[in-house]
Amino acid sequence: MTISVKIFASLREDLGIDGANIRPSHKMTALDVWKHITDKKPPDNLLCAVNHQYAGFDSTVQDGDEIAFFPPVNGG
């Protein structure tokens, strides 16, 4: 089981990593993935996406999923 993790923008600089591939031994939520990659408390404005769709932190991630963590967006 491999889950691809991506980190964007200011969050990448705060954590010092741009992503990871993790092989969890048990079922994980998005919040579990966060805790797996860092000891830091999730920022209040943290956003999350699973397979390119916005997702809640209680979303379950599965083998082959791509999960992303990022700060509020700011295009246009």
Binding site: H52, P71, G75, G76
Partner: protein
């Protein structure tokens, strides 16, 4: 419908002028085109801004924009929709974003263009990092809420 994430500078006016000929719109089938172009300012929050780096989440950005463009097309009965958004290094006065909506009448073109632009501001996965003039360094730009429709 065309959506493009663009790493190079683009000319929004020629894109709008050229698009109908390469789209599936038939000449005479539309009576309105509403265009929004966003440019980079050289100031923000009281500081002079030298340049800006625009980052995006490749894959998710395109997916979100395509899904919402489809929805806007149907909701407002548009003839077509063109969206171009810059990424990479951007300098003051460079165009950042183009949203152009074609429709039979003006109301749908105005509303569709506005809806797409507000969605883009609120949901599309872009982030801006400004480089300030002098020794002020760099900073990430905070999100602002989308204007209500």
């Amino acid at each position: 419908m065309h959506i493009q994430i663009c790493p190079q500078a683009f000319n929004p006016w020629s894109e709008v002028a050229d698009y109908p000929a390469r789209s599936e719109m038939k000449p005479g089938s539309y009576g309105a085109c509403s265009v929004f172009v966003g440019f980079m300012r050289d100031f923000n929050l009281g500081d002079k801004v030298q340049c800006m780096e625009l980052e995006h989440y490749h894959g998710m950005t395109e997916k979100l924009l395509a899904e919402h463009a489809q929805k806007v097309n149907q909701q407002y009965g548009l003839a077509d929709l063109l969206i171009i958004h810059r990424v990479g290094m951007i300098y003051p006065q460079d165009p950042i974003v183009l949203v152009a909506a074609w429709s039979a009448h003006r109301a749908e073109a105005f509303d569709g263009c506005r809806d797409m632009m507000e969605y883009l501001k609120a949901k599309a996965t872009f982030w801006k990092k400004e480089s300030l003039e002098g020794s002020e360094g760099q900073r990430w730009v905070d999100n602002r809420k989308a204007m209500p429709l």
